[in-house]
Symmetry: C2
Subunit: 290 residues, 2 copies
Protein backbone atom coordinates (compact mmCIF):
# COMPACT_ATOMS: atom_id res chain seq x y z
CA UNK A 1 0.00 0.00 0.00
CA UNK A 2 1.43 3.34 -1.03
CA UNK A 3 1.64 6.07 1.59
CA UNK A 4 0.62 8.69 -0.96
CA UNK A 5 -2.49 9.01 -3.09
CA UNK A 6 -2.03 8.84 -6.84
CA UNK A 7 -5.65 8.37 -7.80
CA UNK A 8 -8.92 9.19 -6.08
CA UNK A 9 -12.59 8.48 -6.72
CA UNK A 10 -15.00 11.16 -5.63
CA UNK A 11 -18.56 9.98 -5.09
CA UNK A 12 -20.91 12.96 -5.25
CA UNK A 13 -19.90 15.88 -7.43
CA UNK A 14 -21.55 18.76 -5.63
CA UNK A 15 -19.66 21.89 -4.68
CA UNK A 16 -17.57 20.15 -1.99
CA UNK A 17 -16.70 17.04 -4.02
CA UNK A 18 -15.96 19.07 -7.13
CA UNK A 19 -13.71 21.48 -5.25
CA UNK A 20 -11.72 18.55 -3.84
CA UNK A 21 -11.55 17.11 -7.38
CA UNK A 22 -10.09 20.34 -8.77
CA UNK A 23 -7.57 20.67 -5.94
CA UNK A 24 -6.48 17.03 -6.45
CA UNK A 25 -6.12 17.40 -10.21
CA UNK A 26 -4.03 20.54 -9.75
CA UNK A 27 -1.58 18.36 -7.78
CA UNK A 28 -1.37 15.72 -10.51
CA UNK A 29 -3.64 13.22 -8.78
CA UNK A 30 -5.86 11.28 -11.19
CA UNK A 31 -9.51 11.94 -10.34
CA UNK A 32 -12.36 9.56 -11.09
CA UNK A 33 -15.89 10.78 -10.46
CA UNK A 34 -19.24 9.17 -9.77
CA UNK A 35 -22.61 10.81 -9.25
CA UNK A 36 -26.01 9.16 -9.06
CA UNK A 37 -27.26 12.06 -11.13
CA UNK A 38 -26.11 11.36 -14.66
CA UNK A 39 -26.24 14.99 -15.96
CA UNK A 40 -24.10 16.11 -13.00
CA UNK A 41 -21.56 13.43 -13.85
CA UNK A 42 -21.45 14.45 -17.53
CA UNK A 43 -21.10 18.10 -16.56
CA UNK A 44 -18.15 17.35 -14.25
CA UNK A 45 -16.40 15.53 -17.09
CA UNK A 46 -17.16 18.25 -19.62
CA UNK A 47 -15.93 20.99 -17.26
CA UNK A 48 -12.74 18.97 -16.61
CA UNK A 49 -13.51 18.78 -12.91
CA UNK A 50 -12.75 15.05 -13.10
CA UNK A 51 -10.45 13.08 -15.42
CA UNK A 52 -12.74 10.11 -15.91
CA UNK A 53 -16.28 9.18 -14.99
CA UNK A 54 -17.39 5.88 -13.48
CA UNK A 55 -20.66 4.94 -15.15
CA UNK A 56 -21.52 1.82 -13.20
CA UNK A 57 -21.38 1.71 -9.40
CA UNK A 58 -20.77 -2.08 -9.48
CA UNK A 59 -17.29 -1.34 -10.78
CA UNK A 60 -16.54 0.52 -7.53
CA UNK A 61 -17.97 -1.98 -5.07
CA UNK A 62 -15.44 -4.60 -6.16
CA UNK A 63 -12.10 -5.59 -4.68
CA UNK A 64 -10.44 -5.11 -8.09
CA UNK A 65 -11.15 -1.39 -7.87
CA UNK A 66 -8.07 -1.13 -5.61
CA UNK A 67 -5.90 -1.57 -8.71
CA UNK A 68 -7.31 1.69 -10.04
CA UNK A 69 -7.85 3.93 -7.03
CA UNK A 70 -6.08 4.54 -3.68
CA UNK A 71 -8.71 6.69 -2.00
CA UNK A 72 -12.48 7.06 -2.21
CA UNK A 73 -14.08 10.26 -0.91
CA UNK A 74 -17.83 10.02 -0.31
CA UNK A 75 -19.05 13.60 -0.64
CA UNK A 76 -22.83 13.35 -0.40
CA UNK A 77 -25.35 14.86 2.05
CA UNK A 78 -24.79 13.55 5.61
CA UNK A 79 -27.72 11.11 5.63
CA UNK A 80 -26.58 9.51 2.39
CA UNK A 81 -23.02 9.04 3.65
CA UNK A 82 -24.05 6.03 5.75
CA UNK A 83 -25.91 4.52 2.79
CA UNK A 84 -22.98 4.89 0.43
CA UNK A 85 -20.59 3.38 2.99
CA UNK A 86 -22.98 0.40 3.19
CA UNK A 87 -23.01 0.09 -0.59
CA UNK A 88 -19.22 -0.15 -0.57
CA UNK A 89 -19.20 -3.25 1.67
CA UNK A 90 -17.26 -5.37 -0.87
CA UNK A 91 -14.26 -3.08 -0.46
CA UNK A 92 -14.30 -2.72 3.31
CA UNK A 93 -11.01 -4.00 4.74
CA UNK A 94 -9.10 -3.63 1.47
CA UNK A 95 -6.13 -1.47 0.49
CA UNK A 96 -8.44 1.34 -0.65
CA UNK A 97 -8.77 4.13 1.92
CA UNK A 98 -12.35 5.38 2.25
CA UNK A 99 -13.48 8.67 3.78
CA UNK A 100 -16.34 11.20 3.70
CA UNK A 101 -16.91 14.95 4.01
CA UNK A 102 -19.98 15.02 6.25
CA UNK A 103 -20.47 17.87 8.75
CA UNK A 104 -22.05 15.48 11.25
CA UNK A 105 -20.68 12.11 12.27
CA UNK A 106 -22.64 10.43 15.10
CA UNK A 107 -25.06 8.66 12.72
CA UNK A 108 -22.31 6.81 10.87
CA UNK A 109 -22.26 3.24 12.18
CA UNK A 110 -20.03 0.58 10.68
CA UNK A 111 -19.14 -2.84 11.90
CA UNK A 112 -15.67 -3.96 10.99
CA UNK A 113 -14.24 -1.66 8.33
CA UNK A 114 -10.56 -1.03 9.03
CA UNK A 115 -10.12 1.21 5.99
CA UNK A 116 -12.78 3.84 6.73
CA UNK A 117 -11.69 7.07 8.44
CA UNK A 118 -14.01 10.09 8.67
CA UNK A 119 -13.06 13.60 7.49
CA UNK A 120 -14.69 16.99 7.83
CA UNK A 121 -13.01 19.49 5.54
CA UNK A 122 -14.28 22.88 6.69
CA UNK A 123 -15.19 25.57 4.23
CA UNK A 124 -17.67 28.34 4.76
CA UNK A 125 -19.41 28.52 1.44
CA UNK A 126 -23.16 28.80 0.97
CA UNK A 127 -22.88 27.84 -2.69
CA UNK A 128 -23.76 24.43 -4.09
CA UNK A 129 -23.29 22.41 -7.28
CA UNK A 130 -20.31 21.54 -9.45
CA UNK A 131 -20.32 24.94 -11.18
CA UNK A 132 -19.51 26.55 -7.83
CA UNK A 133 -16.39 24.37 -7.50
CA UNK A 134 -13.23 26.21 -6.45
CA UNK A 135 -9.85 24.54 -6.37
CA UNK A 136 -8.73 26.84 -3.55
CA UNK A 137 -11.86 26.38 -1.42
CA UNK A 138 -10.00 24.30 1.17
CA UNK A 139 -6.53 25.84 0.88
CA UNK A 140 -5.13 26.48 4.38
CA UNK A 141 -8.46 25.55 5.99
CA UNK A 142 -9.09 23.06 8.77
CA UNK A 143 -10.02 19.42 8.42
CA UNK A 144 -11.20 17.46 11.43
CA UNK A 145 -10.44 13.72 11.28
CA UNK A 146 -12.46 11.22 13.33
CA UNK A 147 -11.41 7.60 13.59
CA UNK A 148 -14.31 5.91 15.41
CA UNK A 149 -13.77 2.49 13.78
CA UNK A 150 -10.08 2.28 14.70
CA UNK A 151 -8.92 2.12 11.13
CA UNK A 152 -5.44 0.81 10.40
CA UNK A 153 -2.74 3.38 10.95
CA UNK A 154 -1.68 3.04 7.31
CA UNK A 155 -5.08 4.25 6.15
CA UNK A 156 -5.18 7.02 8.74
CA UNK A 157 -1.71 8.27 7.80
CA UNK A 158 -2.40 8.10 4.09
CA UNK A 159 -5.57 10.12 4.55
CA UNK A 160 -3.81 12.76 6.69
CA UNK A 161 -1.02 12.99 4.11
CA UNK A 162 -3.56 13.49 1.37
CA UNK A 163 -5.43 16.33 3.12
CA UNK A 164 -2.23 18.02 4.28
CA UNK A 165 0.09 17.58 1.29
CA UNK A 166 -2.28 17.41 -1.67
CA UNK A 167 -5.17 19.60 -0.53
CA UNK A 168 -2.97 21.69 1.79
CA UNK A 169 -5.30 21.64 4.76
CA UNK A 170 -4.49 21.59 8.48
CA UNK A 171 -5.78 18.42 10.09
CA UNK A 172 -6.64 17.66 13.71
CA UNK A 173 -8.06 14.51 15.26
CA UNK A 174 -11.14 14.57 17.45
CA UNK A 175 -13.71 12.14 18.85
CA UNK A 176 -17.10 11.98 17.13
CA UNK A 177 -18.86 13.27 20.24
CA UNK A 178 -16.51 16.28 20.59
CA UNK A 179 -16.81 16.97 16.87
CA UNK A 180 -20.58 16.93 16.79
CA UNK A 181 -20.99 19.13 19.88
CA UNK A 182 -18.42 21.72 18.83
CA UNK A 183 -19.88 21.98 15.33
CA UNK A 184 -23.41 22.11 16.76
CA UNK A 185 -22.33 25.26 18.60
CA UNK A 186 -20.13 26.91 16.01
CA UNK A 187 -21.84 25.97 12.75
CA UNK A 188 -25.15 24.11 13.01
CA UNK A 189 -26.76 26.49 15.52
CA UNK A 190 -25.66 29.63 13.60
CA UNK A 191 -27.29 28.15 10.50
CA UNK A 192 -30.48 27.18 12.34
CA UNK A 193 -30.69 30.68 13.80
CA UNK A 194 -30.20 32.22 10.37
CA UNK A 195 -33.00 30.16 8.85
CA UNK A 196 -35.25 31.13 11.77
CA UNK A 197 -34.43 34.83 11.53
CA UNK A 198 -35.13 35.00 7.79
CA UNK A 199 -38.28 32.93 8.31
CA UNK A 200 -39.55 35.35 10.96
CA UNK A 201 -39.00 38.30 8.63
CA UNK A 202 -40.80 36.41 5.85
CA UNK A 203 -43.77 35.70 8.14
CA UNK A 204 -43.95 39.28 9.44
CA UNK A 205 -44.79 40.65 5.99
CA UNK A 206 -42.70 43.68 6.87
CA UNK A 207 -41.54 45.65 3.87
CA UNK A 208 -37.86 45.03 4.33
CA UNK A 209 -36.93 44.73 0.66
CA UNK A 210 -35.26 48.07 0.34
CA UNK A 211 -34.28 48.40 3.94
CA UNK A 212 -32.30 45.40 5.04
CA UNK A 213 -30.21 46.86 7.83
CA UNK A 214 -26.57 46.22 8.57
CA UNK A 215 -26.35 42.76 10.07
CA UNK A 216 -28.91 40.95 7.96
CA UNK A 217 -26.69 40.08 5.04
CA UNK A 218 -24.62 37.59 7.05
CA UNK A 219 -27.81 35.77 7.99
CA UNK A 220 -29.05 35.88 4.41
CA UNK A 221 -25.87 34.26 3.21
CA UNK A 222 -26.11 31.44 5.75
CA UNK A 223 -29.80 30.82 5.12
CA UNK A 224 -29.21 30.45 1.40
CA UNK A 225 -27.12 27.33 1.97
CA UNK A 226 -27.97 23.94 0.48
CA UNK A 227 -31.24 22.96 2.17
CA UNK A 228 -30.91 19.17 1.72
CA UNK A 229 -27.57 19.16 3.44
CA UNK A 230 -28.84 21.37 6.25
CA UNK A 231 -32.04 19.43 6.86
CA UNK A 232 -29.80 16.36 7.27
CA UNK A 233 -27.38 18.12 9.60
CA UNK A 234 -30.15 19.54 11.78
CA UNK A 235 -31.94 16.23 12.20
CA UNK A 236 -28.89 13.99 12.53
CA UNK A 237 -27.23 16.26 15.08
CA UNK A 238 -30.42 17.28 16.85
CA UNK A 239 -29.33 16.17 20.31
CA UNK A 240 -26.23 18.39 20.34
CA UNK A 241 -28.06 21.11 18.43
CA UNK A 242 -30.72 21.28 21.16
CA UNK A 243 -27.99 21.43 23.83
CA UNK A 244 -26.37 24.33 21.98
CA UNK A 245 -29.75 26.02 21.50
CA UNK A 246 -30.47 25.75 25.23
CA UNK A 247 -27.23 27.60 25.99
CA UNK A 248 -28.08 30.24 23.42
CA UNK A 249 -31.55 30.76 24.94
CA UNK A 250 -29.99 31.29 28.38
CA UNK A 251 -27.66 33.94 26.95
CA UNK A 252 -30.46 35.65 25.05
CA UNK A 253 -32.61 35.74 28.17
CA UNK A 254 -29.75 37.19 30.22
CA UNK A 255 -29.23 39.96 27.69
CA UNK A 256 -32.97 40.54 27.46
CA UNK A 257 -33.17 40.95 31.21
CA UNK A 258 -30.42 43.58 31.15
CA UNK A 259 -32.15 45.35 28.28
CA UNK A 260 -35.64 45.42 29.77
CA UNK A 261 -34.48 46.35 33.27
CA UNK A 262 -32.24 49.13 32.08
CA UNK A 263 -33.06 52.41 33.74
CA UNK A 264 -32.68 55.80 32.19
CA UNK A 265 -29.61 57.43 33.67
CA UNK A 266 -29.84 61.18 34.05
CA UNK A 267 -26.16 62.02 33.47
CA UNK A 268 -25.74 63.46 30.03
CA UNK A 269 -22.92 61.30 28.73
CA UNK A 270 -23.47 58.27 30.89
CA UNK A 271 -24.63 54.93 29.55
CA UNK A 272 -26.01 51.61 30.64
CA UNK A 273 -22.84 50.37 32.18
CA UNK A 274 -23.83 46.82 33.06
CA UNK A 275 -25.15 45.95 29.62
CA UNK A 276 -22.16 47.61 28.02
CA UNK A 277 -19.80 45.67 30.29
CA UNK A 278 -21.54 42.43 29.36
CA UNK A 279 -21.23 43.23 25.64
CA UNK A 280 -17.58 44.24 26.14
CA UNK A 281 -16.90 40.96 27.88
CA UNK A 282 -18.44 39.01 24.99
CA UNK A 283 -16.46 41.08 22.53
CA UNK A 284 -13.17 40.58 24.38
CA UNK A 285 -13.77 36.81 24.55
CA UNK A 286 -13.96 36.85 20.80
CA UNK A 287 -10.78 38.85 20.44
CA UNK A 288 -8.87 36.51 22.72
CA UNK A 289 -10.18 33.25 21.44
CA UNK A 290 -10.46 33.21 17.70
CA UNK B 1 -30.51 79.95 2.98
CA UNK B 2 -28.47 78.06 0.42
CA UNK B 3 -29.89 74.84 -0.96
CA UNK B 4 -26.46 73.24 -0.93
CA UNK B 5 -24.04 72.59 1.91
CA UNK B 6 -20.69 74.33 1.77
CA UNK B 7 -19.61 73.71 5.32
CA UNK B 8 -20.52 71.13 7.91
CA UNK B 9 -19.82 70.56 11.59
CA UNK B 10 -19.58 66.97 12.69
CA UNK B 11 -20.13 66.40 16.39
CA UNK B 12 -18.64 63.06 17.39
CA UNK B 13 -15.64 61.83 15.44
CA UNK B 14 -16.06 58.08 15.73
CA UNK B 15 -15.99 55.79 12.71
CA UNK B 16 -19.32 57.04 11.34
CA UNK B 17 -18.72 60.77 11.85
CA UNK B 18 -15.16 60.54 10.56
CA UNK B 19 -16.23 58.64 7.45
CA UNK B 20 -18.83 61.32 6.69
CA UNK B 21 -16.12 63.95 7.28
CA UNK B 22 -13.78 62.31 4.76
CA UNK B 23 -16.54 61.92 2.15
CA UNK B 24 -17.54 65.58 2.62
CA UNK B 25 -13.98 66.85 2.32
CA UNK B 26 -13.46 64.84 -0.85
CA UNK B 27 -16.34 66.86 -2.35
CA UNK B 28 -14.82 70.20 -1.35
CA UNK B 29 -17.10 70.78 1.62
CA UNK B 30 -15.37 72.47 4.54
CA UNK B 31 -15.52 70.21 7.59
CA UNK B 32 -15.41 71.42 11.19
CA UNK B 33 -15.19 68.80 13.90
CA UNK B 34 -16.04 68.62 17.58
CA UNK B 35 -15.57 65.76 20.01
CA UNK B 36 -15.97 65.76 23.77
CA UNK B 37 -12.85 63.64 23.89
CA UNK B 38 -9.97 66.02 23.28
CA UNK B 39 -7.42 63.41 22.06
CA UNK B 40 -9.96 62.16 19.47
CA UNK B 41 -10.46 65.71 18.24
CA UNK B 42 -6.69 66.28 17.94
CA UNK B 43 -6.28 62.98 16.14
CA UNK B 44 -8.98 63.86 13.60
CA UNK B 45 -7.22 67.14 12.86
CA UNK B 46 -3.81 65.52 12.63
CA UNK B 47 -5.11 62.80 10.31
CA UNK B 48 -6.78 65.46 8.12
CA UNK B 49 -10.20 63.92 8.72
CA UNK B 50 -11.48 67.42 9.48
CA UNK B 51 -10.31 70.84 8.28
CA UNK B 52 -10.72 72.65 11.58
CA UNK B 53 -11.54 71.73 15.14
CA UNK B 54 -14.02 73.51 17.38
CA UNK B 55 -12.48 73.71 20.85
CA UNK B 56 -15.36 75.25 22.75
CA UNK B 57 -18.90 73.93 22.46
CA UNK B 58 -20.32 77.38 23.38
CA UNK B 59 -19.21 78.59 19.97
CA UNK B 60 -21.60 76.06 18.37
CA UNK B 61 -24.65 76.69 20.53
CA UNK B 62 -24.88 80.27 19.32
CA UNK B 63 -26.97 81.83 16.56
CA UNK B 64 -23.82 83.35 15.02
CA UNK B 65 -22.58 79.87 14.20
CA UNK B 66 -24.89 79.96 11.16
CA UNK B 67 -22.43 82.34 9.49
CA UNK B 68 -19.83 79.57 9.59
CA UNK B 69 -21.73 76.32 9.04
CA UNK B 70 -24.76 75.20 6.99
CA UNK B 71 -25.24 71.75 8.48
CA UNK B 72 -24.51 70.08 11.81
CA UNK B 73 -24.36 66.29 11.96
CA UNK B 74 -24.61 64.82 15.45
CA UNK B 75 -22.84 61.47 15.21
CA UNK B 76 -22.75 60.16 18.75
CA UNK B 77 -24.18 56.97 20.35
CA UNK B 78 -28.01 56.94 20.16
CA UNK B 79 -28.64 57.87 23.80
CA UNK B 80 -26.36 60.90 23.56
CA UNK B 81 -28.07 62.14 20.41
CA UNK B 82 -31.01 63.48 22.42
CA UNK B 83 -28.65 65.17 24.87
CA UNK B 84 -26.65 66.89 22.17
CA UNK B 85 -29.82 68.08 20.43
CA UNK B 86 -30.87 69.60 23.78
CA UNK B 87 -27.49 71.30 24.13
CA UNK B 88 -27.99 72.96 20.75
CA UNK B 89 -31.20 74.69 21.81
CA UNK B 90 -29.86 78.18 21.00
CA UNK B 91 -29.71 77.25 17.32
CA UNK B 92 -33.05 75.48 17.04
CA UNK B 93 -35.18 77.28 14.43
CA UNK B 94 -32.24 78.94 12.70
CA UNK B 95 -30.85 78.63 9.18
CA UNK B 96 -28.51 75.83 10.26
CA UNK B 97 -29.80 72.37 9.34
CA UNK B 98 -29.27 69.83 12.12
CA UNK B 99 -29.35 66.04 11.79
CA UNK B 100 -28.02 62.87 13.41
CA UNK B 101 -26.86 59.37 12.45
CA UNK B 102 -28.57 57.28 15.13
CA UNK B 103 -29.78 53.74 14.33
CA UNK B 104 -32.80 54.18 16.58
CA UNK B 105 -35.14 57.15 16.60
CA UNK B 106 -38.17 56.75 18.91
CA UNK B 107 -36.37 58.23 21.94
CA UNK B 108 -35.64 61.54 20.25
CA UNK B 109 -38.19 64.04 21.52
CA UNK B 110 -38.03 67.71 20.59
CA UNK B 111 -40.51 70.46 21.06
CA UNK B 112 -40.44 73.08 18.35
CA UNK B 113 -37.29 72.69 16.28
CA UNK B 114 -38.10 73.33 12.62
CA UNK B 115 -34.49 72.76 11.50
CA UNK B 116 -33.93 69.25 12.88
CA UNK B 117 -34.42 66.28 10.52
CA UNK B 118 -33.27 62.78 11.45
CA UNK B 119 -31.00 60.64 9.27
CA UNK B 120 -29.87 57.05 9.43
CA UNK B 121 -26.99 56.44 7.01
CA UNK B 122 -26.66 52.66 6.79
CA UNK B 123 -23.30 50.98 6.71
CA UNK B 124 -22.51 47.52 7.87
CA UNK B 125 -19.19 47.97 9.56
CA UNK B 126 -18.25 46.51 12.92
CA UNK B 127 -15.27 48.81 13.23
CA UNK B 128 -15.15 51.88 15.43
CA UNK B 129 -13.01 54.96 15.97
CA UNK B 130 -11.61 57.67 13.71
CA UNK B 131 -8.77 55.49 12.46
CA UNK B 132 -11.36 53.15 10.91
CA UNK B 133 -12.80 56.05 8.88
CA UNK B 134 -13.43 55.29 5.22
CA UNK B 135 -14.48 57.97 2.74
CA UNK B 136 -16.36 55.37 0.67
CA UNK B 137 -18.15 53.75 3.61
CA UNK B 138 -21.49 55.23 2.57
CA UNK B 139 -21.03 55.36 -1.18
CA UNK B 140 -24.16 54.00 -2.90
CA UNK B 141 -25.64 52.90 0.44
CA UNK B 142 -29.07 53.70 1.85
CA UNK B 143 -30.00 56.53 4.14
CA UNK B 144 -33.39 56.58 5.84
CA UNK B 145 -34.69 60.06 6.61
CA UNK B 146 -37.31 60.61 9.34
CA UNK B 147 -39.00 63.96 9.78
CA UNK B 148 -41.00 63.59 13.00
CA UNK B 149 -40.83 67.30 13.94
CA UNK B 150 -42.14 68.53 10.59
CA UNK B 151 -39.03 70.48 9.77
CA UNK B 152 -39.20 73.19 7.12
CA UNK B 153 -39.07 71.86 3.59
CA UNK B 154 -35.95 73.94 2.97
CA UNK B 155 -34.05 72.06 5.69
CA UNK B 156 -35.42 68.70 4.55
CA UNK B 157 -34.44 69.33 0.93
CA UNK B 158 -31.01 70.63 1.82
CA UNK B 159 -30.34 67.54 3.90
CA UNK B 160 -31.54 65.19 1.15
CA UNK B 161 -29.37 67.03 -1.38
CA UNK B 162 -26.38 66.69 0.90
CA UNK B 163 -26.75 62.92 1.41
CA UNK B 164 -27.52 62.27 -2.25
CA UNK B 165 -25.18 64.67 -4.04
CA UNK B 166 -22.26 65.05 -1.67
CA UNK B 167 -22.18 61.66 0.08
CA UNK B 168 -23.79 59.85 -2.88
CA UNK B 169 -26.30 57.87 -0.88
CA UNK B 170 -29.83 56.78 -1.79
CA UNK B 171 -32.35 58.35 0.55
CA UNK B 172 -35.87 57.27 1.44
CA UNK B 173 -38.34 58.77 3.90
CA UNK B 174 -40.00 56.72 6.61
CA UNK B 175 -41.93 57.25 9.84
CA UNK B 176 -40.04 56.76 13.09
CA UNK B 177 -42.25 53.78 14.03
CA UNK B 178 -41.69 52.02 10.70
CA UNK B 179 -37.98 52.78 10.88
CA UNK B 180 -37.52 51.39 14.37
CA UNK B 181 -39.52 48.20 13.74
CA UNK B 182 -37.84 47.38 10.42
CA UNK B 183 -34.37 47.96 11.83
CA UNK B 184 -35.27 45.97 14.96
CA UNK B 185 -35.92 43.01 12.65
CA UNK B 186 -33.13 43.45 10.12
CA UNK B 187 -30.30 44.85 12.21
CA UNK B 188 -30.89 45.07 15.96
CA UNK B 189 -32.16 41.51 16.40
CA UNK B 190 -29.33 40.02 14.28
CA UNK B 191 -26.85 41.84 16.50
CA UNK B 192 -28.57 40.75 19.72
CA UNK B 193 -28.58 37.16 18.48
CA UNK B 194 -24.90 37.36 17.61
CA UNK B 195 -23.96 38.63 21.05
CA UNK B 196 -26.05 35.84 22.62
CA UNK B 197 -24.53 33.13 20.43
CA UNK B 198 -20.95 34.16 21.20
CA UNK B 199 -21.87 34.53 24.87
CA UNK B 200 -23.28 30.99 24.98
CA UNK B 201 -20.08 29.61 23.45
CA UNK B 202 -18.04 31.61 25.95
CA UNK B 203 -20.08 30.21 28.86
CA UNK B 204 -19.92 26.62 27.58
CA UNK B 205 -16.14 26.49 28.01
CA UNK B 206 -16.03 24.38 24.87
CA UNK B 207 -12.67 24.31 23.21
CA UNK B 208 -13.70 26.05 20.01
CA UNK B 209 -10.54 28.07 19.48
CA UNK B 210 -9.16 26.01 16.67
CA UNK B 211 -12.46 24.71 15.46
CA UNK B 212 -14.81 27.55 14.73
CA UNK B 213 -17.06 26.01 12.10
CA UNK B 214 -18.34 27.63 8.95
CA UNK B 215 -21.07 30.01 10.01
CA UNK B 216 -19.53 31.41 13.17
CA UNK B 217 -17.41 34.11 11.60
CA UNK B 218 -20.41 36.20 10.55
CA UNK B 219 -21.64 36.17 14.15
CA UNK B 220 -18.16 36.98 15.43
CA UNK B 221 -18.00 40.02 13.19
CA UNK B 222 -21.36 41.34 14.38
CA UNK B 223 -20.63 40.69 18.05
CA UNK B 224 -17.40 42.66 17.84
CA UNK B 225 -19.30 45.87 17.09
CA UNK B 226 -19.11 48.98 19.28
CA UNK B 227 -20.68 47.92 22.58
CA UNK B 228 -21.69 51.39 23.77
CA UNK B 229 -23.66 52.00 20.59
CA UNK B 230 -25.30 48.58 20.78
CA UNK B 231 -26.23 48.78 24.44
CA UNK B 232 -27.97 52.05 23.56
CA UNK B 233 -29.74 50.58 20.53
CA UNK B 234 -30.94 47.51 22.41
CA UNK B 235 -32.35 49.45 25.33
CA UNK B 236 -33.81 52.36 23.37
CA UNK B 237 -35.49 50.10 20.84
CA UNK B 238 -36.41 47.36 23.28
CA UNK B 239 -40.14 47.38 22.53
CA UNK B 240 -39.65 46.66 18.81
CA UNK B 241 -36.70 44.41 19.53
CA UNK B 242 -38.85 42.22 21.77
CA UNK B 243 -41.55 42.09 19.06
CA UNK B 244 -38.94 40.97 16.55
CA UNK B 245 -37.51 38.46 19.02
CA UNK B 246 -40.97 36.97 19.61
CA UNK B 247 -41.32 36.34 15.87
CA UNK B 248 -37.86 34.78 15.77
CA UNK B 249 -38.71 32.46 18.68
CA UNK B 250 -41.84 31.26 16.86
CA UNK B 251 -39.77 30.45 13.78
CA UNK B 252 -37.09 28.70 15.80
CA UNK B 253 -39.71 26.60 17.57
CA UNK B 254 -41.35 25.66 14.27
CA UNK B 255 -38.04 24.50 12.85
CA UNK B 256 -37.19 22.71 16.07
CA UNK B 257 -40.49 20.82 15.92
CA UNK B 258 -39.74 19.65 12.38
CA UNK B 259 -36.25 18.64 13.44
CA UNK B 260 -37.23 16.70 16.55
CA UNK B 261 -40.23 14.99 14.95
CA UNK B 262 -38.31 13.93 11.88
CA UNK B 263 -38.49 10.20 11.35
CA UNK B 264 -35.81 8.10 9.80
CA UNK B 265 -36.85 7.27 6.25
CA UNK B 266 -35.73 3.87 5.01
CA UNK B 267 -35.27 4.74 1.34
CA UNK B 268 -31.61 5.05 0.57
CA UNK B 269 -31.54 8.43 -1.14
CA UNK B 270 -34.64 9.94 0.39
CA UNK B 271 -34.57 12.83 2.79
CA UNK B 272 -36.68 14.70 5.27
CA UNK B 273 -38.91 16.33 2.75
CA UNK B 274 -40.96 18.62 4.97
CA UNK B 275 -38.00 20.21 6.70
CA UNK B 276 -36.20 20.55 3.40
CA UNK B 277 -39.29 22.18 1.83
CA UNK B 278 -39.47 24.63 4.72
CA UNK B 279 -35.78 25.51 4.33
CA UNK B 280 -36.25 25.83 0.56
CA UNK B 281 -39.16 28.18 1.10
CA UNK B 282 -37.08 30.37 3.42
CA UNK B 283 -34.24 30.34 0.92
CA UNK B 284 -36.47 31.27 -2.02
CA UNK B 285 -38.01 34.14 -0.03
CA UNK B 286 -34.52 35.50 0.35
CA UNK B 287 -33.76 35.17 -3.34
CA UNK B 288 -36.95 36.98 -4.33
CA UNK B 289 -36.86 39.71 -1.77
CA UNK B 290 -33.41 41.10 -1.29
Amino acid sequence: MKNTVESVLIIGLGMIGSSIALASRSKGIKVYGYDLDSPSLKLALKEKIIDESIENFDEVNNKKFGEKVDLIIVSVPPRKTQEVFNQLQEIWNTSITITDTSSVKNHIKLDGADNIVLSHPIAGSHKSGALAADKDLFFNKKNVICNPFNADEEHLNRLINYWEDAIQMNTSIMSVSDHDLIFAMTSHLPHLISYALIDSIRLSNADVNENAGGGLKEFLRLSSSNSEMWSDIFTLNRVDLIKALAGFQISINNLLELITEAKEIPDVFNHLSILKEELDEIKSFKEENF
